[in-house]
């Protein structure tokens, strides 16, 4: 903000002098570059625009001035600053009038006046009102609606006479304008009255020499037009020209064009061709550098004064210049329209962009939220899947565990039964007979006759038989009496039922060296499940007719090999399949190593190696 104030103060300090014009533009540029238009304080922005507009107007750069005025006006309207809006409109209407957009100028002036009418009639308000009336007067004068012009000039004059401060020069200006309107409407007497009023001021020649020269010329021209000159002409013209020439600045040399034209006209009228031509060419030469209506007028004058080809040439030039001027005017007017249109367009564009941005923002937020939600849902679903999978695994594991437990129970039961049987056998068979034999021998103990001895030897033989029986029982106890109930039997049952259901043959090679009792339940469960899963995969994908399963132990490494004669598969393609994944995770669980060998149409061999113990 401080920066902004600094820049604005710089702007204020700049005078309108031509020498500093370039500098002005640099400042203007720097203000624009400084990102002035991003600043939210719209009042300040509008003020800056207004100031820039004024600068451009004083530098006679109509289109740039118009651009900034227009911007300022928009903002002032928005913040409902009627006074500022009105003075900006005034600036615009002046530019429009200068560029001959008279209708536009009229419209804006009228609007500015009506805005000012809403306000309290302060000095400033009245001052701008009078300026606006003056502008309207000039506009109508140009439009050759002289009554209107005179009406507004009078209004302006009336207002100006009530203003405070030094109003002399501005009143003189208005009077001059009013006189001009009278002159153009051929009311020469009234015009002469007003001019005389201005010229009455003896100080004017010193204070505003160029203005004095202008008024003097106008006065002389009115006299000339009214045909009431009594020897004052061409002295009045010459006096005015002398003043202009003596001033020797841009404004006075510009003014001298008209004076020269008037002189040429006068001398032409008096049939003094040489003088007429002299002044006409002078007017043309000076006006050439401005390349505007004055040049046009000069050319027209020359074409009247000259004769023959020269006149024709001048007329041709006149027509050409007239065309180009008209074109230029049209261009300027178009430019104004374009500025207005472009600004509107930019604003609309801005609105559109901001709306788009808003939509974009809403859309991106929506997308972010939805994608986040989708992400949540997906992860949740995956998690659920995983949990479900784990649960299923656990359930199946439990199933197998129960299977093994029940198998274990079977073993226990069988053991108990066997124990009972042996006990029964010992009790009923052996013990009873032994008791009977002992009792008999006891009773026979006393006898010594041959018969008794014979009987005794019979009983001793009986003891031998009992001995044999005991040996038999002992032998039975020593052998593995429980069969069909180990882990390998569970596997056997599994392979048998699965292969039968899937309809292929199987070869199961086991090794009795494997101590299944030592292996953990976890390992057993996983091996069971791996075999089950493999058989399922073979059934689903391999089209095999034979499956070979073998268990082996070598150097503390337990090795399970499952091979089929099926169609095989591309290992890279199937790597991520559920079946293989399951087997993999199970092998990892028991810290084993999995190798898969597969060849198209030759079958697949899965080898799992686990360290025992």
């Amino acid at each position: 903000m401080r920066n902004l104030f600094f820049l604005i103060s710089i702007l204020f300090s700049i005078t309108v002098s031509t020498a500093q014009k370039a500098n002005n533009f640099r400042v203007i540029d720097s203000i624009q570059r400084k990102g002035l238009f991003n600043i939210q304080d719209s009042m300040l922005i509008a003020n800056a625009h207004y100031k820039i507009g004024e600068q451009y107007r004083y530098s006679f750069l109509g289109d740039s001035a118009y651009y900034h005025y227009y911007k300022a006006e928009k903002i002032y309207r928005k913040i409902k600053d009627n006074f500022k809006t009105a003075i900006t409109l005034y600036g615009i209407s002046v530019i429009q009038k200068d560029e001959k957009d008279f209708t536009g100028s009229e419209v804006n002036s009228v609007e500015a006046i009506s805005l000012l009418n809403l306000l309290e009639e302060t000095n400033d308000v009245n001052k701008y009102k009078s300026y606006l009336f003056n502008n309207l007067g000039l506009v109508f004068d140009q439009l050759e609606q002289f009554d209107e012009s005179i009406f507004y000039h009078k209004k302006a004059l009336k207002l100006k006479s009530d203003l405070k401060g030094n109003t002399k020069s501005t009143i003189d200006n208005s009077k001059n304008n009013l006189a001009l309107a009278y002159k153009n409407s051929r009311q020469y007497k009234l015009a002469i009255d007003y001019y005389s009023q201005i010229l009455k001021n003896k100080n004017l020649i010193n204070e505003r020499s160029d203005f004095y020269a202008l008024v003097l010329d106008n006065y002389a021209h009115t006299l000339y037009l009214s045909k009431r000159e009594d020897g004052e002409l061409p002295n009045l013209y010459l006096k005015a020209l002398r003043i202009c020439d003596s001033l020797n600045n841009n404004a006075s040399s510009y003014n001298s064009i008209v004076i020269n034209q008037h002189l040429a006209e006068f001398y032409n009228d008096k049939n003094r061709k040489d003088s007429a031509l002299y002044y006409a060419y002078r007017a043309k030469n000076i006006s050439e550098q401005y390349h505007n209506d004055d040049l046009l007028k000069s050319l027209l004058l020359l074409s009247e004064i000259e004769e023959g080809d020269m006149a024709a040439n001048h007329l041709k030039d006149y027509v050409k210049l007239s065309d180009s001027l008209q074109k230029a005017e049209r261009k300027v007017r178009n430019k104004f329209a374009r500025i207005k249109y472009e600004t509107n367009q930019i604003e609309q564009e801005n609105i559109r962009i901001s709306r788009e941005r808003l939509w974009f923002l809403i859309l991106s937020i929506a997308i972010i939220i939805t994608s986040f939600l989708i992400y949540l849902v997906v992860t949740q679903r995956n998690k659920n899947k995983e949990l479900k999978f784990i649960q299923e695994q656990q359930e199946t594991n439990e199933e197998i565990y129960n299977l093994m437990l029940s198998q274990h129970d079977n073993i226990e039961e069988a053991r108990t039964l066997e124990k009972k049987r042996i006990s029964q056998e010992l009790h009923d068979g052996v013990l009873g007979r032994l008791f009977g034999t002992r009792l008999s021998l006891d009773s026979l103990n006393m006898g010594t006759d041959a018969d008794t001895i014979k009987t005794r030897s019979q009983y001793i033989h009986e003891i031998k038989t009992i001995e044999d029986d005991i040996r038999k029982v002992s032998h039975e106890l020593n052998t593995e009496f429980v069969s069909g109930s180990s882990f390998i039997d569970i596997i056997k049952t599994l392979v048998e039922t699965q292969t039968k259901a899937y309809g292929f043959d199987y070869e199961l090679k086991t090794n009795d060296d494997i101590n299944w009792e030592e292996a953990s339940n976890k390992t057993k469960i996983h091996i069971y499940r791996i075999i089950q899963e493999s058989l399922q995969n073979i059934y689903k994908h391999a089209n095999a007719t034979l499956v070979k399963i073998s268990f082996q132990v070598k150097n503390d490494i337990f090795c399970l090999k499952i091979s089929d004669n099926g169609s095989g598969f591309d290992i890279n393609k199937v790597k991520r399949g559920i079946g293989l994944k399951n087997i993999n995770s199970r092998v990892n669980e028991i810290k084993g190593a999995l190798t898969i060998k597969t060849e198209e149409n030759k079958g697949t061999t899965i080898t799992i190696k686990v360290k025992t113990g």
């Binding site: 009923d428 008791f435 034999t437 006891d442």
Partner: protein, 224 residues
Amino acid sequence: MTEHIKILMIDDHPMIIEGYQNTLLFTKKENQELSIDIANNCDEALVFMNKAVENNTPYNVLFVDISLPPSTDGLMQSGEDLAEYAREVLPKAKIVILTMFNESFRIHNIIKTINPEGFLIKSDLTSSELASAFQAVLNNPPFYSGTVNKHIRITIASNIVIDDKNRKILHLLSQGVRTKNLASHLGISTSAVEKRKKHLRELFSVHDGQDETLIKNARKEGFV
């Protein structure tokens, strides 16, 4: 004068019956005349008993083994049932129980239900003991073998009195039956079993709450 003694020997082991026969024949008194019937199972025993009742030739002495194959009609499960039946149909017969069982619970039950004239445990039976038992049963019953006497003495000497259910609990526990299965064996609820076991633990001053200790203490006191 000649004393005629009618005997029925019931045992599923012919060898044992031979042993009994040998012993009795060798050791009988001069004036004693033995007529011995042999039954190898419950059915045969029933046939002999019923015939004796029918002919009015009752047995004087019955040698009954406890563990016997059950009768075909299932009514007689063991020697115990046979002995009971004999008491009913042959009230004058002297019953001698000969069994391998030496557990306190069985001994107790047999004395209670049958009150036999002779009670011999096979494991500590000798021929001379059988002979003297035979004579004692005929003339001066009862005759109990050493193990039975020891059991009776301990039970009487002990201050502990327990009912049949608790006795059975101790017996079953000693057989290795688990507590959770006791209820079905006894026909009572699990909580009732728990209550009884608690009572038993107090009776046998078991402090660690273990069944093993309970059985050990009960055995010491002669209840198992």
